[in-house]
């Protein structure tokens, strides 16, 4: 299993760089993960990441993209409640890239 070094701590990640232990996650780590994905965190991106984490805490799975876009639309304004905007925030895809930064496991399947 690979590890990454953040603030002097070594954190376990899987082959794709997703956290192995959700508990390792903190905001500093999220910023570092985002940087490795060439994404710089801002309030809008934090909205996405925080919602993903909240949803995951409740359901043990990342939300359907449609649920995420609707939620973001509620929070940031209707014009931003769409997949296109989410891809602007996370060019690697809201499911995979945003989940990675949120410390969630990588979604698997035909996605």
């Amino acid at each position: 299993m690979a590890t990454i070094q953040i603030a002097g701590k070594s954190i376990e990640v899987d082959e794709d760089g997703y956290l192995v232990n959700l508990d390792d996650w903190n905001e500093e780590l999220a910023n570092a993960l985002a940087a490795s994905e060439e994404v710089s965190m801002d309030p809008n991106r934090w909205e996405v990441v925080n919602f993903l984490r909240e949803y995951y805490m409740e359901y043990k799975i990342a939300p359907m993209i449609r649920i995420l876009t609707k939620e973001i639309g509620k929070k940031l304004g209707k014009e931003k409640g769409n997949t296109k905007y989410l891809y602007e925030l996370f060019p690697g895809g809201p499911a995979k890239q945003a989940c990675k930064i949120a410390g969630l496991p990588k979604p698997t399947g035909c996605v």
């Binding site: 939300p63 698997t108 399947g109 996605v111």
Partner: protein
């Protein structure tokens, strides 16, 4: 255009047959499966010490079990008719991606260990032992085959590389070498009933969300029932439909069709997955286990019919194998095909004039149809051969005003794979996926440029996920990807009829 750290094939003037570039794709490696997943699926946790003996014994066992494998290893005359038919060869030029050469990776081991000529005159017959080096080739190139069967269409003996790559993967699994993507997913199905690992509560939440969402946009109470005993139909869909876009739009489409038809249906939380990756690794046991889960769910819910959603390989498993794997389905109504593809279901309603449609709802789209390989070359819809081509097209023409065909040399039975099938829809294989998509994207681009197409409809969850990912590399927006029932969903008129 999406950024890549590899060269994107130039498709401006179509895709021509590339010159042979030995080793061009040898560097691509999949992530190895974890010990936990290997064990869960019934394979050794790590590579066994006497792996060569075990592999050869497995190969011998499979040749005794499958006429296809034993025959295909013998009869290839290396005529090369398949050589330029594989999308991965066309996209990469790596000669080991020619179907005949891919098969040769197993055939040379077969000759060395199972034929007199290979034992006596190894060099002349290019026989080779299963060395560490050959095993590395197997790992690389049997995971650059999407098992799409395009080669088998053109083979004078019907040799199907898919059968060989499935066997190769099963042999590798049997010695404790597995691919993470596929094995992890199969493990999740066994545990949770679906590829994504969606727990029941999350599924309930998702379906409730969809009910509200559809109510908001249409004003109609379209139901997304779960575990409803006594429903007429159990609907089995790929779990990507509960998660991804544009997949979910087809899911909404199915629900609207059932609503409009007035036929009760239900999803199952026990079997919330149509996909069956067991086939990709050639594992009879795992394929059967996944299929049986679905058969059991239908029996428990007391349904009369099983209708299946838009998923290519899963439809192959359902159409061709379910009867053997999990049948007989004697609890179902024999007046309907078992299983029924959702396109067959919708088509029948269209024929009966049972759906109210407003084609103009899709007027912003000029639509073309992509034949998914496992539907096109490994299954059928309706009663006539080739129904799998006509029925989805009938539906599209019924719900869209502007419909355009792609080049038949790249579609129908000769369709090019999206490049992500067969367990290759994994990020570390992105280079293979993008390059392998080139022939199909080229056919799409042609109708986009010349006939104003802006939407490619399809009925496969892998195709949808793959194209939304790779089209941007060719400067085509991911919004060009649509499900057939997504377009049905747009056009269907709910409410009083």
């Amino acid at each position: 255009m999406a950024k890549a750290d590899f060269e994107i094939p130039d498709i401006k003037n179509g895709v021509s047959v590339p010159a042979v570039k030995p080793g061009a794709m040898a560097h691509v490696k999949y992530h190895p499966a974890s010990e936990a997943h290997l064990t869960k699926l019934g394979f050794p946790a790590k590579r066994v010490d006497n792996w060569k003996e075990v592999a050869l014994a497995k190969m011998n066992e499979l040749m005794g079990k499958y006429k296809s494998l034993s025959l295909f290893l013998d009869v290839c005359v290396k005529c090369g008719a398949c050589a330029d038919k594989c999308h991965y060869y066309l996209g990469t030029g790596d000669p080991n991606n020619m179907p005949v050469a891919r098969q040769e990776l197993m055939r040379k081991v077969y000759r060395k260990n199972f034929t007199l000529g290979g034992k006596l005159f190894g060099g002349l017959a290019r026989a080779e032992d299963l060395t560490e080096e050959v095993l590395r080739e197997w790992m690389a190139y049997f995971h650059q085959c999407s098992q799409c069967r395009r080669c088998s269409v053109f083979c004078p003996f019907g040799i199907d590389t898919a059968e060989i790559s499935m066997a190769a993967r099963e042999i590798m699994d049997s010695i404790g070498i597995g691919q993470k993507y596929t094995l992890e997913i199969i493990a999740k199905v066994h545990d949770t009933g679906n590829n994504l690992g969606i727990p029941k509560d999350a599924l309930i939440g998702t379906l409730e969300f969809l009910e509200e969402d559809v109510k908001e946009t249409t004003g109609v109470d379209v139901k997304f029932p779960l575990d409803q005993k006594g429903a007429e139909v159990m609907l089995i869909v790929p779990s990507a439909d509960f998660f991804s876009s544009p997949h979910v739009d087809s899911l909404v489409g199915y629900a609207k069709v059932f609503h409009a038809a007035g036929i009760s249906y239900t999803f199952s939380s026990h079997a919330s997955e149509f996909a069956n990756f067991g086939m990709f690794i050639g594992s009879y046991d795992n394929t059967k286990k996944i299929a049986t889960r679905i058969a059991d769910a239908g029996r428990d819910l007391g349904v009369k019919r099983i209708v299946v959603g838009e998923c290519g390989h899963a439809y192959r498993v359902a159409y061709s194998f379910w009867n053997t794997l999990a049948g007989p389905f004697d609890y179902l109504d024999k007046n309907h095909s078992v299983p029924t593809h959702v396109c067959e279901f919708t088509d029948e309603l269209l024929r009966r004039n049972a759906l109210k449609l407003d084609k103009s709802a899709n007027d912003e789209f000029t639509v073309t149809y992509h034949d998914s390989c496992n539907v096109a070359r490994a299954s059928r819809m309706g009663t006539e051969p080739g129904g799998q081509f006509e029925i989805p097209r009938n539906i599209l023409k019924a719900v869209c005003n502007k419909y355009v065909e792609m080049d038949p040399e790249a579609n129908r039975e000769k369709t090019f794979c999206c490049g992500g099938g067969g367990g290759l829809l994994s990020d570390e294989l992105l280079e293979v996926r993008v390059k392998g998509a080139a022939p199909k994207v080229s056919a799409l681009k042609e109708v986009m440029d010349n006939q104003g197409v802006n939407t490619m409809a399809m009925i496969c969850a892998i195709c949808k996920a793959q194209f939304t990912k790779v089209l941007p590399y060719y400067d085509i927006p991911m919004e060009a990807v649509a499900g057939v029932h997504q377009l049905v969903s747009n056009a269907i008129q709910l409410g009083d009829k």
